[in-house]
Symmetry: C2
Subunit: 288 residues, 2 copies
């Protein structure tokens, strides 16, 4: 196994924020494949990357990345972790990036989906192969059915169906991948603020009385955008998602099985079970 | 004029929160029509209603409302102002409401749109006539084109078009009526938190660096839901909207001319002009 894996050559991981990049690095490394991290300044966390060979990058240092990744013998590249859409002024293009400038700018316009697909094409034109995190570590994909002790009720399932319908309708607009539905009413929609921030809003609205659905009702529903390049930016859930969902007084979390990345599943399930919330993967057929 | 108006009989206004109910009451009263306010406890502001004959109501006191409105000689009823969707436990149904219980419950399920339309039907079955605020005071509807000094740029117009497209797609889900678009990217979507809260989020995301679009870019776009009963819950803008939009660093505010209620237009324009933001009514053809 280890020898077959090592024939793949080392894996370059360009890392944004959150616990997911390291969780994937650990999975890949434990399969015997060498991992080289390229944490992005301002996004990736500082200390965790030190367990692996790593090279810090500024957003825009495409030439530096290509040179270092080649020197490390990496052909396969994974882009993973939370990224804040950078301001054009915060990008530090190196010479290579400048030569690619028109194509980078074309990628930069439009939504995140365009930006990431554009980055992917640029890398592939230079001989790299951009892979999704789930392609190098399939076990990070969330399975079908309830994970953990708690099952969604019939009412929760109706909320989940409404959330998926909405995400399907909103998909073409390249916005967030998550929504909160309570009592068949959409109570929060994620755009660029991110899932954690949206869940904090639910908690606030409950505390202030703006949202009056009973605590213990409501579902966080996540789904990939339709037509999204699934090599990047699949929806992800992790222990923090379960903590925030519990703090927001939700009944549970629903997502598309096989199309959602699950970081630290053991801790996620432990937190969900203790809080009494469900964590359920719905079949990919329900997928927008 | 006054005699023609007074033949209409006094107007009952069931009032939620915000400055809009009193602005409309003032317009109607200045045309010579008698106004009787029915402020809702927990929603309407206390002192402002005292300028008019008024009777406080709890949500659910349908019988009390009908009795008092009849005693005041009111046949026409307007329901206006911000309403938080009440918890079922906070409703205090009176006897009349209990006799209507199955129909009230049917109205209560589903989104706000159903709730309000259902209330309208209940009142009409008892001989009242439910009118939109713009029907008793047409001058509160926002006009077409830029109001105030500042005009939207071409880029702002592209953002407005994207916002309207999104609101059209999201319309069937009976969620908010507003979205913020910056650089052709949807950055915030309103659900139950309300427009002011959504704009506060934009300001927060700019301060924290999560949203990096340059200050002075981005548009608040509001539009009525498709198929909405326009007697209630037309989108509204007012001085607070302009203040919040300016604090959020937006370029301006766009809405559907003739299908948006404008509270205190003079103050709104004064604030917008001073802040250098545009306030523009787009033609009703752009309306989802």
């Amino acid at each position: 196994m280890t020898s077959a894996v090592s024939q793949l050559g080392p894996l370059a991981m360009i890392c944004g924020g959150g616990s997911l990049p390291l969780a994937v690095a650990d999975k890949v490394a434990s399969s015997g494949r060498r991992v080289v991290l390229f944490p992005l300044r301002g996004a990736a966390e500082g200390t965790a990357v030190e367990h692996y060979p790593h090279h810090w990058l500024h957003v825009g240092q495409i030439g530096k990345f290509m040179r270092l990744a080649r020197a490390e013998g990496c052909r396969d590249v994974v882009l993973i972790g939370a990224m804040i859409r950078p301001s054009i002024w915060q990008i530090r293009p190196d010479f290579k990036a400048l030569t690619l400038f028109p194509r980078v700018m074309a990628a930069f316009r439009g939504g995140d989906n365009h930006l990431l697909s554009g980055m992917g094409r640029l890398l592939e034109q230079d001989g790299f192969r951009l892979l999704g995190a789930h392609e190098v570590s399939p076990e990070i994909l969330a399975p079908e059915n309830a994970i953990g002790r708690v099952q969604p009720s019939e009412q929760d399932r109706a909320d989940i169906a409404l959330g998926l319908d909405y995400l399907k309708a909103a998909g073409p607009f390249d916005i967030g991948q998550a929504v909160v539905v309570a009592g068949r009413h959409i109570v929060a929609v994620e755009a660029i603020e991110g899932t954690d921030e949206m869940l904090a809003r639910i908690a606030d609205m409950r505390a202030s009385g703006r949202m009056r659905a009973r605590s213990g009702t409501g579902v966080l529903v996540k789904a990939p955008k339709p037509n999204q390049d699934r090599r990047f930016d699949l929806p992800s859930i992790g222990p923090v998602t379960a903590e925030r969902a519990a703090s927001a007084g939700l009944a549970g979390i629903a997502f598309i099985a096989g199309a959602t990345i699950m970081a630290e599943p053991e801790r996620l399930i432990e937190i969900a079970d203790r809080a009494g919330i469900f964590v359920v993967g719905v079949p990919a057929g329900s997928d927008p």
